[in-house]
Symmetry: C2
Subunit: 118 residues, 2 copies
Amino acid sequence: MHAFDVLGDPVRRRILELLAGGERASGDVVEVIRREFGISQPAVSQHLKVLRDSGFSVVRAQGARRLYALDPEPLRQVDAWLDPFRRFWEPRLEALATKIARGKRRRRLAAEPEGDPS
Amino acid sequence: MHAFDVLGDPVRRRILELLAGGERASGDVVEVIRREFGISQPAVSQHLKVLRDSGFSVVRAQGARRLYALDPEPLRQVDAWLDPFRRFWEPRLEALATKIARGKRRRRLAAEPEGDPS
DNA sequence: CAAATGTATTAGTCAATGCTTATATAAATG
DNA sequence: CATTTATATAAGCATTGACTAATACATTTG
C-alpha cells in the first residue's frame, strides 16, 4: 500500500498524530479512536496493521501489551515528494532558508537507496 | 474527496507533477499518461475531473482545448499537516531556518479560513 | 489452572473507486 | 454544412477497502 493511500484514511492520520506524541499501547489508541470515530477494536487493530505493514510504525511487546511507535520514514518520503511543488507557496526569500535545510538533508541521505516515492 | 485520497492515485500524482511544469492541455496530459500508464482518454479525463473537484487544479477554455493548471492550495495543506512530524527528520539547527520560513508563512495566512486538513 | 484481559485474525458484507466502452457536446476545418 | 478533432459524461463491471461479529491467541491474575 502506497504511503498516500495509507494517509488517505482519517483514522490512520489520527493514529499517526497520536504516535507523534510518543509510544502508545494498542489499547490506548483503541480507546481514543473509539471515542472519536466510534469504531470497534478490530477495526483499529486492522488500521494498526496497515501502519505496521507500510512502515509508518513499529511495535514492541511489553507483556500482553503492544507498544506502537512512529517510524517517520514514509512521512519523510511524502515530504520529499512535495519538494517540487514548494515553490508555489514558499516565497523566494524564505525558500532560501528552507533550501539550506533541505539541501543539507538531501546530501546526508544521498547514498541511501531511495525508492521512488511516486 | 480528501486531499490525501486524491494523492493516493499514482496517475493523479503524475498529472500534478506535469502541471507543476506549467499549464497543459487535456490532450497533452492524456498523451503522456497513456504512454506511461496505458489507460484510456476517458480514464484520464475522470482523473482530471477529480483534480478539479478537489481544488488541485483549475481549467480555462481555449477554443476546443481545456488548459489545466495547478492550484497549489491543497498541496500546501498537506504540507501543513506534516508540520508536527517534521521534528522527526529535520535536525534542530536546520529546523530553525525552516521554522522562520513556515512561521512567516503562517502569520501571513493567519486571517484566512483554513479547513482542518485532517 | 481457570478466568480475565489485551490484542490480532478471519470471514463476510457493503460502499467506493477506477477502469472500459459507448456516447454526448462543442469547436475547428475543408 | 458535414466531418473531424478535443474533451467530457454515462453506464456497467471488477476490485479494493473499511467495517462488524466471531473467534483465536497470549499474558496476567486470583
